[in-house]
Every structure is written in C-alpha cells, then in structure tokens.
Amino acid sequence: MLEIKNLDFSYGKTRVFKNFNLEIAEGQVSLVTGINGVGKSTLLRLIAGVLRPARGEIVFKDKFGNDPRRKIGFLSDVLSLYESLTVAQAIDYHKSVYKISSVDDTLIKHTKIGYAQKIKELSTGQRTILHLSLILSTEPELLLIDEIIHSIDAYLRKVFLEQLVRLLTDRHITVVMVNLNFHDIEYLVERVILLKAGEIAVDEDIEALKAKVKKIVADSPPEPLHILSQIDYSSHSEFFVYPFDEKSRETLEGEVVDLNLTEIVTAFIGGEYA
C-alpha cells in the first residue's frame, strides 16, 4: 500500500525522524503509538502530504495515481476545516474539489448538526462526524485517523466506530491510527507500531505482541527476562516483560498475567518514563 523510505524530518532544529523506514500493507489496520512528542501525528501528517519530508520519500501503490491525496482520508487531531463556512458551504467546497455529486449524510443525521450552522459553532464530536462524512464521500483507500476518537462522546464514538467497521468489512480500506487509549478500538487493530525517539521500537502483529508482553506478579525480578517497567507494592511487584518466552513459564517464580492492548502500550510507555 505504501512505503516510507529513508525519511528525515525536523521542526527547525528539533529532529523527529532520521532515516525512518516503514511499510504499510493493504487492508491492514495499524496503530501508531508512543509517548507524547515522539512523532506519531507528524508521521500521519507526512503520509497525508500536509508535511513535507526534508529527505526520503513516501511511495504509494499505483492505484493512488499522480496525487495520492485523492485516495487518502486524513482525520487530523485539529479537525482543520474552514471554520467560517457553514456546514452546507463546507460540503459544497469539498464536493467541488473532489468533483463528487453528493456527500453521504447518514452520519451527519446522527448528530444534531444544522446545515446552516457555521463549522466553528460545532462541537468536537460534531466536527469529527462531519469531517469523517466528507472524507468518506471521496472513497479513500487509506484512512489516517489522528487521536480524535476519545475526544468525542460515547454515542458519537459508537457511530464513528460502527462506520469504521463497516468500511473495513465492505471496502477493506487501510487504516493507520494514532492513539493512546485503546479500550474500544482494540478489536480493530491488527498491527502495533510503537515509536521511540523517532524510530520504530516495536512493530508487531497484535496477537504476537500479546504473546510476547506479559505481566509477572512476583517478589523478585523474573531473570533473565527483559523488564520494560515495574510497579512496586508493599507485598509484591508487578514486572512487565518483553519479549516473554513461553519456555521460561515453567521456571518462573510468580504469576504470569496476559495483558490487553492498553496495558501493553502502558508498559512500554511506562518504561520510557522510568
């Protein structure tokens, strides 16, 4: 689907990526995560074409055509739209740029958005749904979603995720999302990419990752396993280990506990702050 090759990017003197490489397969749902400021949103913006790399390239498959942005839907965390336009004008604008005859307003009808309302009068949730409707009307092959799901209310989140599942099932689109909170998207994610200091620290299939990251409740460190982070209590400690080796289960002292995606990412991120 897309390949990032030897990419360099900086904000002035602050380097974000140096010689960064990544491949995203078609139809895959990838989650990009990492501590704040590591470059997650920057990575999405580079793929979306709203940031330009200083060096390197992002190569898309042929079906993206001359201008890949035509096949990319980018739902950014700032939900950038012309705020002084009304909803109807914003829809018209989007239709004229993409030369499409209509925008499916099924999602918009779930919210209380009025077509005469200005964009700046909409709530974050309403803007997200409007933005998603605009994006989906152009039938993107690649959907980039930046840390927005959890800033909308439970009902709109459900609407949003249902639409996303429908897209994944019906059109097999590729999704790259940036998130720090995963409890209601875990079932969608197939691949986890953890960024650290502008590089990929972990890049695993979610099931493989779940098998490799475990919590061990014990009194002493579970040697020789590598400890990502640990939490000490008065009676015992919790050790988060990666990579966990099934062979070591029998010889380990303490209880081995499976983790969900949120706990896994928290363990990695906790290790970085330790």
């Binding site: 709203v50 940031l51 950038s80 739209l81 705020e83 002084s84 336009l85 004229s96």
Partner: protein
C-alpha cells in the same frame, strides 16, 4: 474552491466600498467647515481612488487570511489540489475585481489607466507577496508603503538615466514603460521568493519556513534602497 474565493474577494471589496459612505460626510465637511467648495464628483473620485488603493493592498494582504484565521491550511494542503491551482484560485477573482475597479476609474473619472493601473496592480502584488512572509497587516502595510516609494523613485531614476544617456523618445509610452520596468525589478524577485516558499509550504510553524523568502526579499530590498539612495540626487533632484 473557486466559489469560496470569489465570495471572499467580493466580501473584501464590499468592506472597502463601505468607505464610500464617507463621501456625503466629506462633502458636508467641505461645505460647512473647509469651504473650499469642491464638487461632489471630485470628492467622490478622490475617495473612490483611495478605496481602490485600499482594496488593492487589503485584497493582497488578506489572500491567506481565511486559512490563517480558520486554521485551515492543514485541510487545504490535504486536498488533491496543486499549489499552482490554489494560487490561481486565490489570485484570479481578486485581480479580476481590481482590474474591474481600474476600468471603472478610467471610464468614469478620466484617469490615466496605464499609470494608475500599474500602480494599483503593483500594490496588490507587493501586498500579496508580503502576506506569506509577514503575519501582521500593519507591518505588511508599512512594507507596501516603503516598496511603493522605492518603485516611485526607481522608475523615474531609470527613465531619467535613459534620457540623459540618449533615449530620445518622449512619447506617451515612456512613463508606463519605465513604470513596468521598475515594477518588474521589484516584483520578479518577490514573486520568486513567494512562489518558492508557497510551493514548499506545509503545516510546520511559518517561522520555520521563511528562510528562502527572506534570503531573496531582504537582499533585493536592500540593493534597491542603496541604488535609489546613491542615484537619487543625480537623477531626481538635479534632473
């Protein structure tokens, strides 16, 4: 996209045309206080010319205003639209309105369309080219005034130099021709700086993206100021 830009350009023009409501007030002021007995038509034309000057500067300076105010650069740059198309969509309606106003001035107020036209277009382009490097409207305006004065002396210096060195033609074409040369000397480097910056522009903070712009614009302005300063006495004062 075009519809929005036309709407924006018309909005700016209407904002500027609001200045015309001061004409009756100026007329009354003249009659009651100043007592110079200007004709209504003369006051109207003076205010209308001022309005067109303000529109030229304002339309140029505000060319990216909706993107700046609405934080819409990210949306705009995520759309499958080339930078050239964006620029044409922004420039075309604003220029069309300005040219329409220049034609109105020429038809109804009997002005020299070439001289006024070149000046108004120059103001528009300087202001537009400044808008990418300068956020403040006030600083943009100061820059436009400064460059206008450079232009004002530059074309005269070039014309007088040519006359002193044997240019014989004193036809009607000579002033607009040297105005065009003066405008080109200012606008070509500024336009190149503007285009190179806009072509590579992304959503990084603007202060990180202005190096190319300033690398071209600053030396150009400094060279022209030095040139005008050194030649001013000989080709303007003593001519």
């Amino acid at each position: 996209m075009h519809k929005k830009e036309v709407y924006d350009a018309l909005k700016r023009e209407l904002e500027c045309l609001l200045i015309l409501v001061t004409v009756p007030l100026a007329f009354l002021w003249d009659r009651l206080v100043m007592k110079t007995n200007w004709e209504f038509r003369d006051i109207f034309s003076a205010v209308f010319i001022t309005t067109v000057i303000i529109y030229a500067v304002y339309a140029g300076a505000m060319i990216f205003q909706s993107e700046k105010k609405d934080r819409a650069f990210e949306y705009l740059f995520s759309l499958p639209v080339s930078r050239l198309r964006i620029l044409l969509a922004k420039m075309a309606p604003r220029l069309a309105i300005l040219i329409f106003l220049i034609i109105v001035l020429a038809l109804f107020f009997d002005l020299d369309i070439a001289a006024f036209g070149i000046t108004f277009l120059l103001l528009f382009f300087i202001s537009a080219f400044f808008s990418i490097g300068i956020n403040s409207i006030i600083i943009n305006l100061i820059g436009v005034i400064m460059l206008y004065y450079i232009f004002h002396f530059l074309w005269r210096i070039l014309m007088n130099y040519s006359i002193l060195h044997g240019l014989e033609s004193r036809g009607a074409w000579i002033i607009p021709a040297f105005q065009l040369i003066g405008a080109a000397l200012l606008l070509v480097p500024m336009g190149i700086a503007f285009w190179l910056t806009f072509k590579k522009m992304d959503v990084k903070p603007m202060k990180l993206q202005k190096r190319t712009y300033y690398t071209i614009v600053f030396p150009t302005v400094i060279v022209l100021i030095i040139f005008v300063s050194l030649t001013f006495k000989k080709y303007i004062l003593d001519f």
